[in-house]
Subunit: 230 residues, 2 copies
Amino acid sequence: MAGRKVLIVYAHQEPKSLNGSLKRVAVEELSKQGCSVTVSDLYAMQFEPRATRNDIVGCLHNPEEFNYGVETWEAYKRGDLSNDLIEEQKKVQEADLMIFQFPLYWFSMPAIMKGWMDRVLVQGFAHEFPNCYDSGLLKNKLALFSFTTGGSKEMYAKGGISGDIRYLLWPIQHGIMHFCGVKVLAPHICFAPEYVSEEKRKEMLIAWAQRLKGLWKEEPINCSPEWYFK
Amino acid sequence: MAGRKVLIVYAHQEPKSLNGSLKRVAVEELSKQGCSVTVSDLYAMQFEPRATRNDIVGCLHNPEEFNYGVETWEAYKRGDLSNDLIEEQKKVQEADLMIFQFPLYWFSMPAIMKGWMDRVLVQGFAHEFPNCYDSGLLKNKLALFSFTTGGSKEMYAKGGISGDIRYLLWPIQHGIMHFCGVKVLAPHICFAPEYVSEEKRKEMLIAWAQRLKGLWKEEPINCSPEWYFK
């Protein structure tokens, strides 16, 4: 789909990792389709995950009692967010699709990527009551979570020791993306790549490239409790 | 329960916030009981949330391809983790109970606290296959997640727009604490304190102090899918 814009938010320390390869495959395949692809390589950027007063340039709305949510909302309206946040928001604004590529850390994304969510998706930009969930401010965009796990597919099955993998997708797909109005494509999961052969890891890369070829024809999931917990 | 050791891991930027007050109430009440209380005030410590090569002192096990999980595991065994991690691990090791006090950010903990989980609970220290879940290396410890929300209790009810609040506790209570063998006490949740009166916020502090008085008699929850999703 020539002309579509894709933002890949990528969180792995090692370019030679499977996550690094999955990211490269996505850049190559989507570029080949004529998409314009931007990558936020969070570790390489030394992206700041901490939500602090430094995110607001100049004076505070209420210097007596610091409230991060209120201050970033006010700063957004004044155009006074820190430059790194303005840069990321521009990339989000332009994107038709956001791909989040990361290794699962503790049933969730690594802190550096959680910090991207905490700091970039501020009120006024990504949501503003009552504009949340289906009417969130980032509607008409798509998101896809692509990640690797330590545990096996069997551990992450219903009845498995770690529970259905969908359980842990609720906070990130529904709680973050759906809240901002973003529609969610099915996740792309590579289970336990550290415990399989080099051959199998290559197959994982091929499967990802293959999926990306048909990506623009995919329908978003029905992001409701039924998808996650039924 | 005189003599018990409590670690409070606290993530709020503003001492005057309700989270700040909840933390102070816990320190006061538990100290009054004769407990020894330690606080990790993550923002004040400027705690590093990013999992990087800096967490390993000296040479890497495999300098050709950086694998954070493997490197921190090896560094733990050699005693070569960075000092900030060794300090936090000592506090965890000594604690009978860990209380995590934070405002809910995006259906989860703030990135600075997620970084504490990512970096402190390394393999070898908190878990080491097959010592996970009920036989995790931190067994005989208790954890309690105490947090404030933006959304109301009605939004976080079953059938509410944000779903049962228990859905989002799965990754943090089961995926992190239970995985390390830690038993989990019922969460303590203050819903939407920003939208209630000063009087109601005072009641929230009193209720927390009241709960802490009987805390050592509480039974842990049954941390299984039924608790979260039934």
